[in-house]
Symmetry: C2
Subunit: 677 residues, 2 copies
């Protein structure tokens, strides 16, 4: 065209036009890399992406990974999975944040190789092809310069043979496809036109405890005899009690001085007597605030001692982070700028109109002084880290700014990457997920209110979706000091046992509020889902050694969790059809089927129920016709079942309302002795 020359058209050509490979749909991916995916130390990370290019050339790629901030990348090759999807795997061997990017490129040597082999097989001349191949090998040798000189020499030698027109073409081609030559070429890819994924993805690597843990919540105030105020020393004396049940984490409600103003009396009454201890969540008084210890519990030194003793018994002490103040908190005088002041001069207390919570004053995350507020709150967490605490349960995190948590947890974990934060948020699904993305290690869930087979099945399906499990680690609690669900009020011992087995085997993280749970406390404050005579507002004298306690049953289940790897992850769960609505059957397995567990729970606490079960044999690692053993770790009974038939399962709530089977396959020893493994 007269009015338009080709060189006019060049002005808007972007760089990188020869990068023919596109890197798409990378994974693990939380919001396109905005947030990290979660892993634990020692995990194999399977990093996947699509590598898409024009034409029919061979495509190669690699995943580059490093600890965030490291100078050097490590790499793992990407292997094709079919349908243009590729995977590379690597092991994360250090705590903290990692990042990864993908690279893809056209693999000219493999392309050449394939085409030439086909031509040779079709009897066509490959003389010119061999010259092309020799050039590719020479270029490979040049790229390999910085590496092992032996490799360079091997490629150069192959190039000479392939280029040598005096030799037989077949001999020359064979020289190009010698395994060591092919491997050396793979190690020296031509990356000039390689494409990198647009945005690095990130992974946070936590300790194993982040994924597999059993929590026990205890009010130190009642850890003594329940008449005088309990102390950290009393808790220390209870450690064996907790450890014997097989828990990993002992979580204490807030340990800070409790405010006097508007202190709540027993059963959440508005007026407290002079000896009523008040709610531990009304933090701050004369004796200090979030950096201080409630004098009646002891001293910071006592807490250090407790943390140390607990760790010796395999228990981590978890503290409660409740970022709110009682009206007596020193912050109100020292930092009035962190609170909402109303037009009448008063400070805005917590409320959910028309309800008022006058014993609690919230921080104003929109205040002008937000930066000093953030810094102060971070200093609180770091203070308890300095005392030795590494696990925190965070109270109502969904009422504090999401961006604050992302920053605060990031700062804590930059210093102490082994730290674990459990989000106690019972709110809408998306804010709960947003907290997990922002950095919470584990999260409370709706399990407490999921009762029917359909409820539980659907909820687990939601939680183990790849998009969700990438960042959200559920922690199942049958009860909390705030929640005595209706089924525990009326279901009796069978319901306590069923909910315990469900929580501990559906989810790899679970917890109970005790001793209320194992002692089967079930009386609510009238008309509520809350405990009567709640420890939140008073001391309780617990019958620690009650013979009807569930402590032994809990110990059996926690031991089964420790001994069966399949129970140490929430994913890889399968629900099996059972012919009765009250019988819930599910299995879990390790990736390699080395450990398979089958759980059956009778959800009806009043009636003996039975069901035929349609086992999904593939998920159990079984083949039709095979006989196998199920070994019930709760009842210590063993049965031989035949894969392909529908076993009949009957569960009597007056005995044990659940079975926790290990599935053992029949194996034959070299001496022809048959046994179940």
């Amino acid at each position: 065209m007269a009015h338009r020359t080709a060189s006019d058209l060049r002005t808007r050509i972007p760089d990188g036009g020869r990068r023919r490979v596109l890197v798409e749909d990378p994974s693990p991916n939380v919001d396109g890399g905005r947030y990290p995916a979660k892993h634990v130390l020692g995990d194999r990370v399977d990093a996947e992406c699509d590598l898409v290019a024009d034409g029919h050339d061979a495509i190669a790629g690699r995943v580059l990974y490093r600890r965030a901030g490291a100078d050097m990348w490590q790499s793992a090759p990407l292997a094709p999975l079919g349908n243009d999807r590729f995977r590379g795997s690597f092991v994360v061997d250090a705590l903290g944040v990692w990042e990864l990017v993908f690279e893809g490129w056209i693999d000219a040597f493999t392309t050449w190789h394939r085409g030439t082999a086909k031509k040779r097989a079709a009897g066509q001349s490959i003389g010119v092809e061999l010259l092309v191949g020799a050039k590719l090998l020479s270029e490979g040798a040049a790229r390999a310069r910085t590496r092992d000189p032996a490799v360079v020499e091997r490629l150069a030698e192959a190039a000479r043979i392939v280029a040598d027109t005096r030799r037989d073409p077949n001999e020359r081609f064979e020289a190009s496809i010698a395994p060591d030559v092919v491997a050396a070429m793979r190690e020296a890819p031509d990356l000039e036109h390689a494409t990198r994924s647009e945005r690095p993805l990130s992974i946070v690597v936590d300790p194993e405890l982040a994924r597999f843990s059993a929590w026990y919540e205890l009010f130190p105030r009642s850890a003594g005899d329940g008449i005088r105020h309990g102390t950290f020393a009393d808790v220390e004396r209870r450690l064996d009690y907790v450890a014997a049940m097989g828990f990993d984490i002992l979580y204490l409600p807030p340990i800070h001085p409790i405010g006097r103003a508007f202190r709540k009396g027993p059963n959440n009454t508005l007026v407290a007597g002079p000896r009523d201890p008040g709610s531990p969540w009304a933090i701050g008084g004369e004796a200090g605030g979030h950096h201080s210890v409630h004098p009646e519990l002891g001293t910071e030194a006592d807490l250090r001692s407790l943390v140390r003793s607990a760790r010796q018994k395999g228990l981590e002490i978890a503290l409660d982070i409740a970022f709110q103040a009682s009206p007596d908190h020193p912050y109100l005088k020292q930092h009035p700028e962190w609170f909402v002041r109303r037009p009448d001069g008063s400070i805005q207390h917590a409320e959910n109109p028309p309800k008022k919570y006058e014993d609690v004053v919230p921080f104003d995350f929109e205040c002008e002084a937000w930066r000093s507020l953030w810094a102060e709150l971070l200093s609180v967490v770091l203070h308890w880290c300095d005392v030795g605490v590494r696990v925190f349960r965070v109270d109502n995190p969904h009422t504090k700014a999401l961006r604050f948590w992302e920053w605060c947890i990031g700062e804590v974990k930059a210093r102490h990457p082994e730290t674990i934060f459990l989000a106690e948020a019972f709110t809408r699904p998306k804010p709960m997920y947003a907290l997990a993305k922002a950095g919470f290690t584990q999260s409370y869930t709706y399990f407490t209110w999921r009762e029917t087979k359909q409820d539980l099945t659907r909820y687990l399906a939601e939680l183990v979706r790849p998009e969700v499990r990438a960042f959200y680690r559920p922690c199942f609690w049958p009860n909390t000091p705030d929640i005595l669900p209706e089924h525990l009020q009326h279901g009796g011992r069978p319901m306590f046992l069923a909910r315990m087995v469900l929580a501990a085997t559906l989810s790899s993280n679970w917890g109970i509020y005790g001793p209320a749970f194992e002692l089967m406390e079930h009386v609510p404050r009238a008309g509520t889902e809350e405990y009567v005579d709640n420890e939140k507002y008073q001391l309780r004298a617990w019958r620690w050694d009650d013979p009807s306690s569930l402590r032994d049953a809990i110990a059996v289940v926690n031991r089964a969790r420790r001994e069966n790897l399949a129970l140490q992850r929430t994913e890889r769960i399968t629900f099996h059809d059972a012919s009765d609505d009250a019988i819930l059957v599910y299995s879990k397995r390790t990736e390699d089927f080395g450990n398979v567990v089958l759980v059956a729970v009778n959800l009806d606490p009043k009636n003996r129920r039975g069901a035929f079960v349609d086992l999904d044999l593939r998920e159990l690692g079984l083949e039709a016709g095979q006989s196998f053993q199920v070994h019930d770790l709760l009842g210590q009974t063993r049965h031989i079942w035949n894969a392909g038939t529908r076993p009949w399962l009957e569960l009597d709530p007056t005995l044990v309302p659940a079975s926790l089977f290990v599935v053992r396959r029949r194996v034959r020893s070299e001496h022809d002795f048959e046994y179940f493994l």
Copy 2:
């Protein structure tokens, strides 16, 4: 801590910590905004995102949108859909690229409003609340300053009344919730801490023809009598023939000079006689290359005339863009740098080892001179745009660099946003999708080989997934000059009719290669899925007026498409269970159920088949028990059916193997006269 002060901790606090709302999961979203979603002129765009925040405050938001490059944003408010999802809608009223971002913020006025109303309802004092509200109204008035002074005054007046402690609290509260005050506050939001979505999303707006089109492919060489070489003038004389069948686009294979070297003879033989015309895809010879017209077809002026005449008859002329060269193409001498030169000095021809295509030389998109190559290829498309062509079918785009297409199509559409590109790529799914993302307006599909009920149902489900339909517009072709599928070879007239109805009603874009299709050409070159005596290599004398031609049936179906909006989109399709495997039943509807079409096709060309059909009443806009009329546009028969019963459908392939029903609901006129609409 002695060693750490709160101010030390402030150093790494990011900006924007008071932006409490997160904007997540925005849509329409193709790869996180990397590629545009596709719309057509006049579409209402439903833009959605999650707005997630801490706490219980009211959240508000808006979507900002503009033509790419425009200075000013327009905005539409976001309304809640539940589960923290929000939607804002706007109409795209200009062709080209649009961009959109989301904004979310805490709505302090609504939050105040809700809380105060609850307190008032509970009989609590709201005196202090009213002072808070008065302040919010004053601030709103200040923000509204740049707007209508009447609005400012209205807000200021409301603020005065609400602040006036001499008045009755109820009167004051009422003043704050007057509808015009609430509306004015909504129009003057406090955006100081509003959050914007991270990356703008983009939308490309095409003409309606991009979404709803019927293509007819014709070889001009046979447009005359098939003995002398056809010309553009001959094609012009065939326009009425094509238009009468109801097509929108008349697509011509490449119109450029054809190479002599290695020219293929009839039936793809290796040696061409002196009078054999050769393949139009072997582009370039003495008479020129991609900018030139094959002399035997006429001149560029003839083409201009054809484009003009076609447009007068409602037809767009589509040209074929085949970016490859015959060995005689002028480019090989003028720009040898654009081709791969082999070690023996020869130019690399096209091959798919061991197959060789010696009449075609591919461009080397990895060459050093790639920028001048890109510019030249763009100049080709722009040249034919200058001639008046606006629709292009692109040959084998998947063998040219994806980044090239993204740039090339972007450059063409920046100048001519009404241009349509159809990607003729039959390859793996991901490269096909990648081409659509890169900018192709429509795409060839696997429809040609989807035969069974299960095949077709699954394939449609894949194509209408929201993630796919956002960028991929399928165009269904029962045949092409390259593909005579086996079912057309053996299925006779019933199969031609069935495949025509399927293509034209499953997909809103469809096309045929004619007159081979309507004349039911079905003889393959032995052992292939290709036509014998293919026009690609020779002229054909067609029996244009054959009385057994399917032209009338095609005209009926294309008319039904034009008259029924439901058929003008591929999405909103529902498959209905039919009791016979050969009977495929599906319906399409408009968003408002104003037009509902039900299609039934007998996939068995040899046997009369019947089935009971389980109609999905909701998708037909019907209620159980309602009687309704189905009006078959193919047979012109009408039946009254009763919703909730299973109608029996029987289709005889010796008559018409399909029904194309319009579903008409019974309505009653104001004079109590009943009819079907």
